[in-house]
Symmetry: D2
Subunit: 350 residues, 4 copies
């Protein structure tokens, strides 16, 4: 198979760097275009990017010249790490120009005709693209989005449970890593020896809306929201990578704890069946130790693409409670969109 030429939008930022890292030696994709703001354009990637990842910049990308944003990028498929404001402006323009845009930005996620996709959870939502192209008059281009980094561990753990038992209500508290705020992001004086009990106005809203869209029913031209009551308390903690959530859940059809464990452990969704390059095997890792998952020890599970679960036990108020963790800049950002694109390739949709 010939590799597909791809580009990264917003390539110099923290999420853009993750895209570059994950795509550096990809079996489907050949990363040839790095685009960013005017300030970076014309410089080599080495000069333009203040590399913040712990593994070094892929050497063959270091000398690529960063390009200015435009609708004349020489590739068909784009991964977008643009900030919301630029995503709003550019992603639609690029899709209209025929590009296939896989976006980590929040700009289009809740549009009714845009798939908000986790390949393990709602691959059928890709059916929205027909409506998207028809409605917007786009012929070849489209936009597919991945969810907010904190929605990931919650939605991944709820998906197999919702299918079997019907999730009615969720109270969730997040303890989110600093890398989720990008760079420079959180000032160190705000977070060393401290916790911030607030991320942004929109964070708790996303935690409510996004899982309800992803767990909703695909109806050819839209998605019926799942109708789960979700109450989220979002916090920033002094952890570099890995978002941890404590979750209490109420079900329609009351499962036992072994029922739940079985639902998680036997879950074998599409990306794992298709053995997609970045699909974690398994998607969900259930730890039996009392003190797991922990971000420092578990965030790299499945090369940062797995969701790690622990401490399943009864809840005195809802039905059960547990802890879940996912790597926020791999699974929760760049890796999510890479897996979305892999799914479409493997299904012959590109």
């Amino acid at each position: 198979m010939e590799k597909i030429k791809v580009g990264v939008l917003g390539a110099t930022g923290a999420v853009g760097q993750r895209f570059a890292q994950l795509l550096a030696n990809h079996p489907y994709f050949d990363l040839t275009v790095l685009a960013a703001s005017e300030r970076s354009a014309g410089k080599t990637y080495r000069q333009a990017a203040n590399w913040v990842l712990t593994d070094p910049m892929p050497p063959h990308l270091a000398d690529l010249t960063v390009q200015d944003m435009s609708t004349e990028l020489e590739c068909e498929l784009l991964f977008s790490a643009l900030p919301t404001s630029q995503a709003t402006e550019w992603e639609g323009k690029l899709a209209e120009a025929g590009y296939r845009v896989f976006s980590n930005a929040g700009a289009y996620r809740m549009e009714s005709d845009v798939p908000l996709l986790i390949p393990e959870v709602n691959p059928e939502h890709l059916g929205l693209l027909k409506e998207q192209q028809a409605k917007r008059g786009w012929t070849r281009g489209f936009i597919v989005t991945n969810p907010n980094c904190t929605s990931i561990p919650m939605t991944m753990t709820l998906a197999p449970l919702h299918a079997k038992f019907g999730v009615e209500a969720v109270v969730v508290t997040s303890m989110q890593a600093i890398s989720g705020a990008g760079y420079p992001g959180v000032p160190s004086l705000d977070i060393i020896d401290n916790i911030l009990p607030f991320i942004a106005e929109s964070e708790e809203v996303k935690m409510n809306e996004e899982p309800n869209k992803m767990l909703g029913l695909f109806q050819s031209d839209h998605v019926d929201m799942a109708g789960i009551a979700i109450s989220a308390h979002c916090n920033r903690v002094p952890v570099t990578d890995g978002h941890t959530v404590t979750i209490s859940v109420r079900f329609k059809n009351k499962p036992t704890l072994p029922d739940i464990l079985e639902a998680w452990q036997t879950w074998q969704p599409l990306p794992q069946q298709l053995n997609l390059p970045w699909a974690p095997q398994p998607a969900l890792v259930v730890r039996s130790e009392q003190n797991r998952p922990q971000p420092r020890l578990d965030r790299n599970e499945g090369r940062g693409m797995a969701t790690v679960i622990g401490r399943l036990r009864p809840c005195a108020v809802l039905d059960v409670r547990f802890v879940a963790l996912a790597h926020n800049t791999i699974r929760g950002a760049a890796g999510g969109s890479v897996l979305n694109a892999e799914l479409m390739v493997a299904q012959g949709m590109l």
Copy 2:
């Protein structure tokens, strides 16, 4: 008023040091006895204690000689910072010998005839002491306990709400400081760049039982438990001092958000009315900023004795949710017992 001679049991440990600090220049109490294990006995306090507090050891205590545990300590009132196993052994023995023991240990907290006391919340529970002395055949001595450090911010914020609106259910997630585990406590490799989603088997049990006892109804010889359903998720975070909790609450009589604010802001419990030396004024500090309370900025409110509240907003699953914070080794440990003793002095019960 002549000062009452007091002693600290377990004086060399982290909580013992806090007792020493809070009692160093106290208007009611004169700290003259420091007792600890055999290993420390005979040394000066300076030699025996590995001082871990950020303010220096009170100079006049540094040269006191640490005594061995015994029932011949020369004071009438003892503050106990003993670990559970030693507390089980010694506190009863000392009460029997006539000492008034104000304990931070968990050993006697849930005994039906032992007051588990927050002076702002349940001062009437001191009535249990009559039953305690009668039942155990103690004439002069007794045991009064303060709650677990994580129960404090939850119980302090719920108390005025329970009185007015009836609390039915609580889902709470704690983010607890490392000082709560004592010294040496949490290994640094376990907590730098990390979160531990587990404290101890008993921690979440205490979070359920203790508030229900403290918010329960005093019935001359016992307390009727409050019957609130409490589900606690306890976590350790890389913060030195200050336990933060996110709380979702369901009420019997549904209050509006302004009703709740008013209940908190007009709360004027007994220690504040009596103007006890270590009573914070006010007991509850409600912050209006979106990103408060924060442990580094708010734990010293009211000299570490206040509970700081923020982010009151509706909850999509229960009724309302908010964030609360208290200093775990001041209000949540040594300071709690000091205030308990102050209350009894001020009420002429000693």
Copy 3:
């Protein structure tokens, strides 16, 4: 004595907040003017300042209205927490207009006619003010500066040794707290689980020049530099407050280790003799434990104004080596200038 009305320039920033805190209940000074940039002017201090200190904003200052920078501030004495660029513009203008400016900024520190002052070290350098006023045509106003925060622990420990034994050479490595970079300052992604081996181009230059000026000889219209060879390695570490330095020193007249200890322990400089309000007693605290000083345990010594020393031992390359620590935003910034002003008041120079 009637209190002197004073103001703080740059009152809303991190150092400005420290000035406000230290001056809040000062026996000599009455803080009545808070000045800052246009953006803050007209707001109350509570609204304008993003308070970053662990103790709450002094309540009586919270409702003061922040004023715009001008030469019509209603007080005679100003403490400057301005950033360098604004200090360059405003401090001279204000001195010319008759204000006595005590500045923490670097702008004027190395000017030959401006005292770079540590009251314990070089009080006689205030003699430069005559030259300063004469040369610049200022009648009533002047500028007195305090040194860089990292120069403090080095200069304080060297001063009594230089006087007795003649310091020839110093190799110093600093481990500097994040608060030294102000707010927002150091991004958390740069410093959690990390060290930055670089502060700024100028930092190591200041570490060389400033001690040489302060330890230099006052010559009526200038200061003869001390001529000490100083090699500084400056690092940022994940500590909130407190700069630690490791120091190796070569002397002209070789002292024994007891000679050095005696020089430190018997040092009784002018601010301590005059018992100035913010003078630490003693100025130098020598710890005998092997593992001190530590920033978390020792930075508040002398209310953050003392310098704490430990680990004096021979050096295999120079003569001796040791560790020193000072609080960077108290002694190393606002507190330094407050003590400078106190010295002038106590000596009848204001």
Copy 4:
């Protein structure tokens, strides 16, 4: 080539885990023996080891049964992660019994007939083994040691400079990661928001002695010490992995800065020439940015086996100064001994 069966002594501890990780899929070695104390013996490795590394335990090792320490282990080559006291007892006994022991322990490092080896620095010191076996009456077995973790970045950077210019004196300050103290190691209360200016009595002694032995001249039955004056200030900092050192150096033959850079950049020592499996290519990475090396960004360079250098500049007291960094539990511990063994294999010495 058939793989050599190897074992790890002290396999359950932090350094033992690193050995297991680095040897998991090794081209020369087949890890079949995991030995540890009586307490772990008989359990599977999964049960016995409290895994502290961020990458998961190699699955094929998880079910190996941990063996008790004995002289009947079924392999010829042993890697030792034993604590000093056990190393003193067991390593000699095992060598006598015919085992080839590659040890990370300090027990035998400074014995005159034991190679203290960095393959890049002093491969010829393996010649001591003849003397070692002769003197001790060992026929087949021997002991080869790797240096202390903090000696690594210093010795690696000095080696090519010493060969060309003659190093006379070094003043070095270390900022050492918490993983260097093992597990549980440093209590979190001692290191969060803090620095410890002391590691252990012996740490600064090792920093002086070990580089002098490794840079010394091999003389058939012993090594002539290099005679470099080394003054070390050792500190613990809140970093998980990666020891950073600031270094000032005086030379006999004064090099220019470009001379030094060239010496580092053209250094091509034996392990790199032999292309040993764990040899980093290159051994020394010189960064040109002002703010590098940093532990979080640079410790994984060369899979944790490289030494990263930055900030070369003149020193006002000695001749030049710079910053160096190496991963303390990979290059500075387990990886060091693995490379030692690889060198002997590649040279046909095993």
